[in-house]
Symmetry: C2
Subunit: 135 residues, 2 copies
DNA sequence: CTAACTGCAAAGTTTTTGCAATTGC
DNA sequence: GCAATTGCAAAAACTTTGCAGTTAG
């Protein structure tokens, strides 16, 4: 679980990507990070975006979010534990407070688990804007 | 949320795939379902496996599981709500009982949520077999 | 009979990677 | 300087799809 500190450089590309992730709230895909980054660095490539996202994830500075109904991963910057809500109508992803009861859970009591690294809670449904009407 | 009953046939292929899913416990990928099914139907194709998994999912007879650290989806048959544990060392996926506190949660109180369809809880860590040693 | 389904192979999507050139430190 | 990083393009990995032939009902 230790955060390996590997030799690395502060490139403009990495800084811009990290900045986009830190804005928060948007849960962008690699593709949208790529487009956003191009506004600042017109020559940045999609490969570089992916490589940096993987690097940042290894450093614990980015998290990957995979919903059940979208094929691409979304990403977010480092932030306190929270759950995610995914609207299957407009595809938006929103942050939710993590239910307090989950924080207190003792998973280690489960006979098949040795150590727990992370919890991921996804709630799926319709957001307020899309309304409760039938899908 | 209604389960659309669309015209369909009971093909050998679909039956075999459903049978594999019902065995439970294994959380197979499309690829491993394909290999397992070939033992019974040596000519079944991967495309047919994917088409049937999508069909069964639409009918509510199969669920897709996407972990954060694996690129392919896993699948399981219809079963009571439960959580999943994913060992990042051996990549195995285990079923966990859903914490009772989650069942009682009133997400609809969240201002941004209109309706909730499903909950997905993923626990990541090391399983008993892989042990608590550093990764 | 006929529409749902299949096998096959080609194509689509998303992510990774090899390589020569660039650039932080 | 030199190794980490980049852009580019090719490849890999996973999933979907078009089509002609097959099959359940």
């Amino acid at each position: 679980m230790e955060q390996k500190v590997k030799k690395s450089r502060n490139t403009k590309q990495r800084a811009v990507i990290l900045e986009i992730l830190r804005k928060g709230g948007s849960h962008p895909t690699a593709e949208s990070i790529y487009h956003e980054a191009r506004k600042t660095l017109p020559n940045i490539s999609l490969g570089t975006v992916y490589r940096n996202l993987n690097f940042l994830r290894e450093q614990g500075l980015a998290h990957e979010i995979r919903t059940n109904s979208e094929s691409s991963s979304r990403f977010e910057g480092k932030c306190p534990p929270h759950a995610h809500f995914h609207c299957t109508k407009c595809q938006s992803v929103l942050d939710l407070p993590l239910p307090p009861c989950l924080k207190e859970l003792e998973w280690n009591g489960e006979s098949d688990i040795a150590t727990v690294n992370s919890l991921d809670l996804h709630v799926t449904g319709a957001c307020r804007e899309c309304g409760p009407a039938a899908s």
